[in-house]
Amino acid sequence: DQQVKQNSPSLSVQEGRISILNCDYTNSMFDYFLWYKKYPAEGPTFLISISSIKDKNEDGRFTVFLNKSAKHLSLHIVPSQPGDSAVYFCAASAYNYKYIFGTGTRLKVLA
Protein backbone atom coordinates (compact mmCIF):
# COMPACT_ATOMS: atom_id res chain seq x y z
CA ASP A 1 0.00 0.00 0.00
CA GLN A 2 1.80 3.08 -1.30
CA GLN A 3 0.87 5.97 0.98
CA VAL A 4 2.97 8.47 -0.97
CA LYS A 5 2.80 8.33 -4.74
CA GLN A 6 4.77 10.05 -7.45
CA ASN A 7 2.95 8.96 -10.55
CA SER A 8 5.35 10.47 -13.07
CA PRO A 9 8.57 8.47 -13.20
CA SER A 10 10.22 11.06 -15.42
CA LEU A 11 9.87 14.60 -16.67
CA SER A 12 11.78 16.62 -19.28
CA VAL A 13 11.76 20.41 -19.27
CA GLN A 14 13.54 23.02 -21.32
CA GLU A 15 16.09 25.17 -19.51
CA GLY A 16 14.52 28.38 -18.21
CA ARG A 17 11.01 26.95 -18.10
CA ILE A 18 9.05 25.82 -15.06
CA SER A 19 9.38 22.27 -13.72
CA ILE A 20 6.39 20.93 -11.79
CA LEU A 21 6.80 17.72 -9.85
CA ASN A 22 3.74 16.17 -8.26
CA CYS A 23 3.13 13.99 -5.26
CA ASP A 24 -0.10 12.48 -3.90
CA TYR A 25 -0.68 10.95 -0.51
CA THR A 26 -3.42 8.93 1.12
CA ASN A 27 -2.86 9.36 4.86
CA SER A 28 -4.69 12.42 6.21
CA MET A 29 -2.56 12.21 9.37
CA PHE A 30 0.56 13.34 7.55
CA ASP A 31 1.58 16.69 8.98
CA TYR A 32 4.95 17.40 7.45
CA PHE A 33 6.23 17.02 3.93
CA LEU A 34 9.68 17.26 2.44
CA TRP A 35 11.30 17.18 -0.96
CA TYR A 36 14.71 15.62 -1.49
CA LYS A 37 16.92 15.73 -4.54
CA LYS A 38 19.20 12.85 -5.47
CA TYR A 39 22.10 12.75 -7.90
CA PRO A 40 23.50 9.41 -9.10
CA ALA A 41 25.78 7.65 -6.61
CA GLU A 42 24.92 10.18 -3.90
CA GLY A 43 22.48 10.15 -1.03
CA PRO A 44 19.36 12.32 -1.16
CA THR A 45 19.81 15.92 -0.10
CA PHE A 46 17.12 18.00 1.54
CA LEU A 47 15.56 20.62 -0.69
CA ILE A 48 12.48 22.17 0.89
CA SER A 49 9.75 21.30 3.37
CA ILE A 50 6.24 22.35 4.29
CA SER A 51 4.10 21.93 7.36
CA SER A 52 0.46 20.96 7.06
CA ILE A 53 -0.55 24.30 8.57
CA LYS A 54 0.74 26.06 5.47
CA ASP A 55 -0.19 25.82 1.82
CA LYS A 56 2.95 27.29 0.32
CA ASN A 57 6.63 27.55 1.11
CA GLU A 58 9.16 29.29 -1.07
CA ASP A 59 12.95 29.14 -1.12
CA GLY A 60 14.62 30.86 -4.03
CA ARG A 61 13.74 29.06 -7.25
CA PHE A 62 11.88 26.33 -5.36
CA THR A 63 8.29 26.53 -4.16
CA VAL A 64 6.26 23.76 -2.61
CA PHE A 65 2.46 23.90 -2.66
CA LEU A 66 0.25 21.80 -0.43
CA ASN A 67 -3.42 21.11 -1.13
CA LYS A 68 -4.66 19.21 1.91
CA SER A 69 -8.18 18.67 0.62
CA ALA A 70 -6.81 16.98 -2.47
CA LYS A 71 -3.96 15.32 -0.53
CA HIS A 72 -1.59 16.66 -3.13
CA LEU A 73 1.66 18.54 -3.07
CA SER A 74 3.79 19.89 -5.84
CA LEU A 75 7.28 21.26 -6.25
CA HIS A 76 7.81 24.11 -8.68
CA ILE A 77 11.27 25.00 -9.95
CA VAL A 78 11.51 28.32 -11.77
CA PRO A 79 13.57 28.83 -13.82
CA SER A 80 14.81 25.30 -14.37
CA GLN A 81 18.54 24.84 -14.84
CA PRO A 82 20.53 21.89 -16.20
CA GLY A 83 22.02 21.36 -12.72
CA ASP A 84 18.51 20.62 -11.47
CA SER A 85 18.55 17.35 -13.40
CA ALA A 86 18.19 14.70 -10.70
CA VAL A 87 15.68 12.36 -9.10
CA TYR A 88 13.25 14.13 -6.78
CA PHE A 89 11.58 12.35 -3.88
CA CYS A 90 8.70 13.61 -1.81
CA ALA A 91 8.34 12.32 1.73
CA ALA A 92 5.69 12.65 4.42
CA SER A 93 5.48 11.99 8.12
CA ALA A 94 2.66 11.79 10.66
CA TYR A 95 3.78 13.58 13.84
CA ASN A 96 6.99 11.58 14.06
CA TYR A 97 10.41 10.91 12.62
CA LYS A 98 9.29 8.08 10.30
CA TYR A 99 9.12 9.31 6.75
CA ILE A 100 7.26 7.61 3.95
CA PHE A 101 8.95 8.27 0.63
CA GLY A 102 7.56 8.25 -2.87
CA THR A 103 9.25 6.35 -5.68
CA GLY A 104 10.80 9.48 -7.17
CA THR A 105 10.55 11.48 -10.39
CA ARG A 106 13.57 11.80 -12.64
CA LEU A 107 13.82 15.37 -13.91
CA LYS A 108 15.88 16.17 -16.97
CA VAL A 109 16.42 19.83 -17.80
CA LEU A 110 17.42 20.25 -21.41
CA ALA A 111 19.90 22.98 -22.30
Binding site: G43, F101, G104
Partner: protein, 114 residues
Protein backbone atom coordinates in the same frame (compact mmCIF):
# COMPACT_ATOMS: atom_id res chain seq x y z
CA UNK B 1 32.53 19.50 7.56
CA UNK B 2 32.29 15.77 7.04
CA UNK B 3 28.95 14.37 6.01
CA UNK B 4 27.48 10.95 6.60
CA UNK B 5 29.74 8.22 5.30
CA UNK B 6 28.92 4.60 4.55
CA UNK B 7 31.04 1.59 3.79
CA UNK B 8 31.43 -0.35 1.67
CA UNK B 9 30.03 1.58 -1.27
CA UNK B 10 29.37 -1.67 -3.10
CA UNK B 11 29.05 -5.21 -1.82
CA UNK B 12 28.47 -8.36 -3.83
CA UNK B 13 27.77 -11.46 -1.78
CA UNK B 14 26.53 -14.96 -2.32
CA UNK B 15 23.11 -16.01 -1.17
CA UNK B 16 23.27 -17.35 2.36
CA UNK B 17 26.26 -15.28 3.48
CA UNK B 18 26.12 -12.64 6.20
CA UNK B 19 26.95 -9.00 5.47
CA UNK B 20 27.69 -5.95 7.60
CA UNK B 21 27.05 -2.42 6.44
CA UNK B 22 28.57 0.50 8.27
CA UNK B 23 27.39 4.06 8.79
CA UNK B 24 29.34 6.98 10.24
CA UNK B 25 26.92 9.80 11.03
CA UNK B 26 27.71 13.48 11.21
CA UNK B 27 29.55 14.22 14.44
CA UNK B 28 27.17 15.26 17.18
CA UNK B 29 24.05 13.91 15.49
CA UNK B 30 22.15 11.83 18.02
CA UNK B 31 19.57 10.40 15.65
CA UNK B 32 20.48 7.85 13.01
CA UNK B 33 18.22 6.17 10.46
CA UNK B 34 18.54 3.24 8.07
CA UNK B 35 16.57 2.99 4.84
CA UNK B 36 16.74 0.80 1.82
CA UNK B 37 15.79 1.44 -1.75
CA UNK B 38 14.98 -1.52 -3.93
CA UNK B 39 14.87 -1.16 -7.70
CA UNK B 40 11.95 1.03 -8.76
CA UNK B 41 10.84 1.64 -5.20
CA UNK B 42 10.93 4.58 -2.83
CA UNK B 43 13.03 4.68 0.29
CA UNK B 44 11.81 2.15 2.82
CA UNK B 45 12.35 2.94 6.51
CA UNK B 46 14.11 0.15 8.40
CA UNK B 47 15.13 1.35 11.87
CA UNK B 48 16.17 4.44 13.76
CA UNK B 49 18.43 5.11 16.73
CA UNK B 50 18.25 7.84 19.33
CA UNK B 51 21.66 7.65 20.92
CA UNK B 52 22.48 3.96 21.20
CA UNK B 53 18.93 2.73 21.60
CA UNK B 54 16.57 1.69 18.84
CA UNK B 55 13.01 2.42 20.02
CA UNK B 56 11.48 1.49 16.69
CA UNK B 57 12.57 -1.62 14.83
CA UNK B 58 9.26 -2.05 13.07
CA UNK B 59 10.68 -1.50 9.60
CA UNK B 60 13.14 -4.38 9.70
CA UNK B 61 11.89 -6.84 7.04
CA UNK B 62 12.70 -10.02 8.97
CA UNK B 63 14.66 -11.36 11.92
CA UNK B 64 17.64 -11.80 9.59
CA UNK B 65 18.13 -8.03 9.85
CA UNK B 66 19.63 -6.42 12.91
CA UNK B 67 21.36 -3.15 13.70
CA UNK B 68 23.37 -1.72 16.49
CA UNK B 69 24.94 1.57 17.38
CA UNK B 70 27.83 2.07 19.75
CA UNK B 71 29.12 5.18 21.47
CA UNK B 72 26.27 7.17 20.01
CA UNK B 73 28.12 7.25 16.74
CA UNK B 74 28.87 4.43 14.29
CA UNK B 75 26.06 2.07 13.37
CA UNK B 76 26.20 -1.36 11.76
CA UNK B 77 23.37 -3.00 9.87
CA UNK B 78 23.78 -6.77 9.70
CA UNK B 79 21.93 -9.04 7.32
CA UNK B 80 22.24 -12.74 8.04
CA UNK B 81 21.76 -15.49 5.49
CA UNK B 82 21.27 -13.00 2.68
CA UNK B 83 18.61 -13.63 0.07
CA UNK B 84 18.35 -12.25 -3.45
CA UNK B 85 15.46 -10.01 -2.44
CA UNK B 86 17.84 -8.25 -0.05
CA UNK B 87 19.58 -6.70 -3.05
CA UNK B 88 19.08 -2.95 -2.76
CA UNK B 89 20.80 0.30 -1.91
CA UNK B 90 21.00 0.71 1.84
CA UNK B 91 21.00 4.34 2.95
CA UNK B 92 21.90 5.79 6.29
CA UNK B 93 20.89 9.25 7.48
CA UNK B 94 21.48 11.26 10.61
CA UNK B 95 20.01 14.34 12.23
CA UNK B 96 20.78 16.42 15.33
CA UNK B 97 17.81 14.77 17.03
CA UNK B 98 14.54 13.10 16.07
CA UNK B 99 12.72 16.39 16.51
CA UNK B 100 14.59 17.70 13.46
CA UNK B 101 12.75 17.02 10.25
CA UNK B 102 15.72 17.32 7.93
CA UNK B 103 17.80 14.18 7.66
CA UNK B 104 21.28 14.12 6.13
CA UNK B 105 21.90 11.10 3.98
CA UNK B 106 25.04 9.16 3.18
CA UNK B 107 25.81 7.93 -0.34
CA UNK B 108 24.51 4.45 0.36
CA UNK B 109 25.79 0.89 0.06
CA UNK B 110 24.71 -1.03 -3.01
CA UNK B 111 24.21 -4.64 -1.99
CA UNK B 112 23.94 -7.33 -4.63
CA UNK B 113 23.12 -10.88 -3.58
CA UNK B 114 23.92 -13.45 -6.25
Amino acid sequence: GAGVSQSPSNKVTEKGKDVELRCDPISGHTALYWYRQSLGQGLEFLIYFQGNSAPDKSGLPSDRFSAERTGGSVSTLTIQRTQQEDSAVYLCASSPGIQYYEQYFGPGTRLTVT
